[in-house]
Amino acid sequence: MTDKTDFLNGNVACAEGALAAGCRFFAGYPITPSTEVAERMALRLPKVGGVFIQMEDELASAAAIIGGSWAGARTMTATSGPGFSLMMENIGYATFTETPIVIVNVQRGGPSTGQPTMAAQGDMLQCRYGSHGDYSVIALSPSSVQEMYDLTVKAFNLADRFRTPVFLMTDETIGHMREKITLHSNVEIIPRRELKEGELPCAPDENGVPGFGTFGMGHNVHITGLTHNEKGYPATDSAEIHEKLVRRQVRKIEDFRNEIADVDIVNPDAELVFISYGAPTRTVRQLLNDNPDTYGHLNLRIVWPFPDESLLAFKNAKAFIIPEMNLGQIAKEVRQHTNIPIVVVPKLGGALHTPAELLKAVEVAKTVKKPVTEVRL
């Protein structure tokens, strides 16, 4: 089999990436602007021996893919803001039971029903903090149709490697735009590690990750969303077990934040440095293309865990300019890792920042002193 090229939109590319990664179960609930992911899966999964099911709502969709994951499949769902909000409880369950799943959020204008057909990046902090209690997540953000495909594959590998939900935090712009894409005949697959005989189902290995006790394989595991000991049994009144469990689950991801960092670092010597992810990366690249060697650029393909060490690459940075299709969500995270002035460039309502708008932000950045400055476009 050889690679194929096609002309697809981002949502369809995402579905194709999932299939290439071996995803064989998709449970979803339609919502604009993510629906094409589900529709493509509905069309394709039965042809490759997989199962597509439309569930009664997003709570059920998240539940079903967690159930499917314990049955041994690579599983995925796709949604947008309102549905994402409904998944928060079960996302916490997946985190705490260390269940590998992939959740795609094709972001649209919020809060609430908001602007269903307009692009946004307003759910980035929700992705990080939206469920109750302390936990960490992995979230990717593609800025092209090809990356929709490639990062979906990567999402499955990270989910299995870290035994955690992985989020593809994309947006309507990328989801609905069509570009040429290469569909690989072979993608790298890093499967989850099966529980070994004699190993306890919730005892970590050297990476902090327990073996996966696939149901039906004779492991006879008990999996619970209660605080549990290494056997997997409830331990609801031990402070020690709770603290150990939560910290391990956070550390198994955060300790690797710079190892799994997937970023582009452009012009590290620049003084004015853009930081972007997803659709705004396109505008930043346009600017960099139009004005070579003028600005630095940190493009994030993995947003969570935030790759803070990448900031250090920009040794001469006088200001970080951060265009986002929200009120500056990732800028808040950046601020936690640096004292270098930050220029936030929020844009709401669905349109992507234009190159001219970013130039306006550049002007502000040239003289900026305060730790955080917002540019009003």
């Binding site: 059920a60 994951s69 999996i223």
Partner: protein, 264 residues
């Protein structure tokens, strides 16, 4: 394998209060599983949250103790991926019909090949005795201090209307009949719903004039009317008195199921 092997020995004794009917229902379920000679690696227990839902923690094969109300949605995913698994869901009246009502009716509609055992104690046991959608009209609970003012669900009726292939009701007193019903439910393709009226002495009995566990058992024995008798009475125009309830098999039918190996 014998019955005792189906218990997760290192977790017994369980956390249930003295006289809680959940343990009895667990016995009947595992007896049915044992009678059918299921293998551990093809048997999965799934549950939500509640005292009843803790049952999945005491069975010795793979078990998934999920979030409150969602067990059937988790089970649907698992079953569709591995249709060969026998999937048994433990749930409570609150878990199944309050927060979980939507997954319940949809699992019935899809007629997915899962057996659901709902331990209906008419109350939220785990959280200390609040009313549930199955709390009888007028009954006292911590959130209905002046008596329940809403109508309760007839869970079997809802399951039937929604599409389940097998629907039956028994009580924790009727251990033989219950075991048999569970066995038939497991053997029936499609969704099997078995409602078990059970006693929560701690949170229900104590507030509703049944301080002794055994009073609740007596009540089940005395108030359960066999379906055949209820039908005969109805034909004669005899109305059941309000404290009575019907036990027996309500439906067993052959609508196309979801998630059976062949259908895949």
């Amino acid at each position: 394998m014998n019955l005792e092997d189906w218990y997760r020995q290192d977790r017994l004794p369980h956390i249930y209060c003295a006289g809680c009917g959940n343990g009895t229902i667990l016995n009947c379920t595992l007896r049915a599983v044992e009678e059918l000679d299921y293998k551990k690696e093809e048997t999965t227990f799934i549950s939500g949250i509640g005292c009843s839902s803790r049952a999945a923690g005491y069975t010795s094969s793979d078990s998934l103790h999920t979030t409150h109300g969602r067990a059937l949605a988790f089970a649907t995913g698992l079953k569709l991926v591995k249709p060969r698994q026998h999937v048994i869901v433990f749930t409570g009246d609150g878990d199944c019909s309050a927060i979980g009502g939507n997954h319940f009716i949809h699992a019935c509609r899809r007629n997915i090949d899962i057996t659901v055992i709902c331990m209906n104690n008419n109350i939220y046991g785990m959280t200390g005795g609040q009313g549930s959608p199955c709390t009888p009209y007028g009954a006292i609970s911590t959130t209905t201090p002046y008596g329940m003012q809403e109508q309760p669900f007839d869970l079997c009726k809802v399951a039937e209307a929604a599409g389940a292939n097998y629907v039956a009701r028994w009580t924790s007193f009727h251990v033989k009949e219950l075991t048999e019903a569970i066995r038939v439910g497991l053997e029936t393709p499609g969704l099997s719903f078995i409602e078990v009226m059970t006693q929560c002495p701690t949170s229900f009995g104590s507030k509703n004039k049944m301080r002794q566990v055994t009073q609740m058992l007596d009540m089940f024995r005395d108030n359960a009317v066999l379906k055949a008798k209820a039908d005969r009475d109805a034909a004669k125009g005899i109305l059941p008195s309000p404290e009575k309830f019907v036990v027996g098999q309500f439906v067993r039918r052959n609508n196309p199921p979801l998630g059976v190996e062949a259908a895949k």
